[in-house]
Assembly symmetry: C2
Homo-oligomer: 409 residues x 2
Amino acid sequence: MNIAVAQSGGPTCAINASLVGVFKQGLLTEKIDAIFGSINGIEGMIYDKLLNLKSVIRTNEDMELLRQTPSTILGSCRYKLPDYEENPEIYEKILQTLQTHRIHIFIYIGGNDSMDTVVKLSGYLKAVGSDIKVIGVPKTIDNDLPVTDHTPGFGSAAKYVATTVQEIIRDSSVYSLPSVTIIEIMGRHSGWLTASTCMLRANGEEAPHLIYLPETDFSADRFMEDVRKEMAKHKAVVVAVSEGISLNAEDSGIAEFQSGAVDNFGHKYLSGVGKFLERLIADKIGCKVRSIELNVMQRCSSHICSKTDIDEAERIGRHALRTALDGETGKMMYFRRISSMPYAVTIEMTDASNVANLEKKFPKEWISPEKNQVTDAAIGYFLPLIQGEVDIYMKNGMPVHFHRPLQVR
Amino acid sequence: MNIAVAQSGGPTCAINASLVGVFKQGLLTEKIDAIFGSINGIEGMIYDKLLNLKSVIRTNEDMELLRQTPSTILGSCRYKLPDYEENPEIYEKILQTLQTHRIHIFIYIGGNDSMDTVVKLSGYLKAVGSDIKVIGVPKTIDNDLPVTDHTPGFGSAAKYVATTVQEIIRDSSVYSLPSVTIIEIMGRHSGWLTASTCMLRANGEEAPHLIYLPETDFSADRFMEDVRKEMAKHKAVVVAVSEGISLNAEDSGIAEFQSGAVDNFGHKYLSGVGKFLERLIADKIGCKVRSIELNVMQRCSSHICSKTDIDEAERIGRHALRTALDGETGKMMYFRRISSMPYAVTIEMTDASNVANLEKKFPKEWISPEKNQVTDAAIGYFLPLIQGEVDIYMKNGMPVHFHRPLQVR
């Protein structure tokens, strides 16, 4: 029998490690012949764009390199599978591809949108009497999937963010003038990544002095008051703010910073919250102020990835294939935390419908009453996820990536 | 006798390593008693804000940590020493501080503005018959100082930029839609750091497909033509552009992206070139386009610093003190390259006046005739500067910084 695997949604540092997990487990499984990679997520299944992964990943060194290469080696998509009633042809095309290549298992690595695809495709296959199995593997730097303790990709993003924010703290404190530095961090509707900057307190940092998350309402007036209070205590105030904070409609000048563009899933592209707050401070306080957007570096900085994250991403990929081989379908694999200290997780499965299109918010009980900080209780949750460094392959003083041109079959 | 050291200008990853060099050499020199650190560059000398470095840096581990801590442990300044005729009191205050603390040597680590201070202060001291020596140590991520082959701080910035641009290249190529990614890189008037992205070709990358430097004139029309040509060849076009490219006055909409603010040295604060080009492409081509500003991370990402750079920064600091002890004054230390392969440099001295207020541009002969690429000849110049990784101290999964609160004496 053959199997196929695909990657979907926004890139992370760990999504290729999950692919390696599926691939390694496939190699170890006697009854599996070809392991196909579907190009650009589910789109490759629709348009029959597959490649034979064994001709791409040829050595142990290839697997090691792939584990430390960010982004998705197979490309990605943001394609939303329509309901069957809306477009049965799409489903038939996918079935056609699966059957043409004798694919019995399809592993989909992605976020909550991708789990929607797992639900719909596995439901369709059951309905037409096929025994092809579909299993989801979670992935997102946003850490906002329900059920699972955390998501592969998040730990590496959090390690990059903590490392970089700490360096920005050093950078921001060199001049004798009072200043405010605003760091804008990814997170559309959940503040996990922004909140994770509280970990710096474990290494003796006081900053970020203020942390704002999308989970609470945000008031520009309260923000200005908070900044003034911190400026009275610290010469260089550092603020971590989630790109998705809910600006009050009454706050002036906000509209121009939010573009109306939406992606295929109806998500709004957010940008410019940092810039907005920067201008607000320049306008109302007039001190030295700078905003910094960590941008896509948050999801692709493999050179400072978390070994725990990369190892877990590979492990959950392997489990996904084993679960499919056990006859399960329509499930997503997830991490259940047994203990934080010492850190221990097990890998379990849940119906993908428990995750599809849903979001897990950062817990309100870990947000300070003033809505501008994260409590110490969260530190113990975050810390285990960023432990360990991967021994990165270097060549000419730069990391080596796996970036062979791919030949579509 | 006592000595003093100060740090000035924009932060880098290597400026604390140069401080460690001065400090270590001071410890080894029998006739030196106290080693003072001047807070906020020359300002500490004016206002007598000094600290005893031996009470701050106490162990070998402290020195090791300081070598891998970005930014300036002693703070910095952008203070421009006025001409003596304009403000003799300032000079008298500095002399007062020097004499009060029996300081016979002052080492100033900084850029071309700081070398101006070295020239003026050493000239004043000679004029008043003092035998206090003043020596400059170069420092800037911009690599734009004359005489020296390269500047401490540049290698680490270039290693960060190459590493990050490579990760952004991976990130930018995941979707099936054609796209343009614009990466804005620091460099007010010189394109060294932006040009250094050509090193990625040594690791098999084709991108950045276009590289624009301040050393040539820039035309928005030619830029659009270049982008269209590259889009015909590559699905995901990546552009590296210096923040300081000279936009043509005739190019529309440029004024709003350049703020009129200037610092104490009359430098214009530039920002938004990437954002400007992003909007231009969105407007004229309408494809997926994103601009990314590498921002202060370019100068403070110690976690991926160049070992060559850090080691050299320490070495040149040590040489500076030895040169002062030899009786020299008004000099700046510099690197002379003996050979690129194998890499070898010597440390020499030059009159600080050969460097003060001057800039070294990126060589025109290393820019392609089309003014949109850097030639292979530059790769051999850049590569030695980013070799080697520092074994970073980690705690709780995050780098450890030296950031003890400082007690001013």
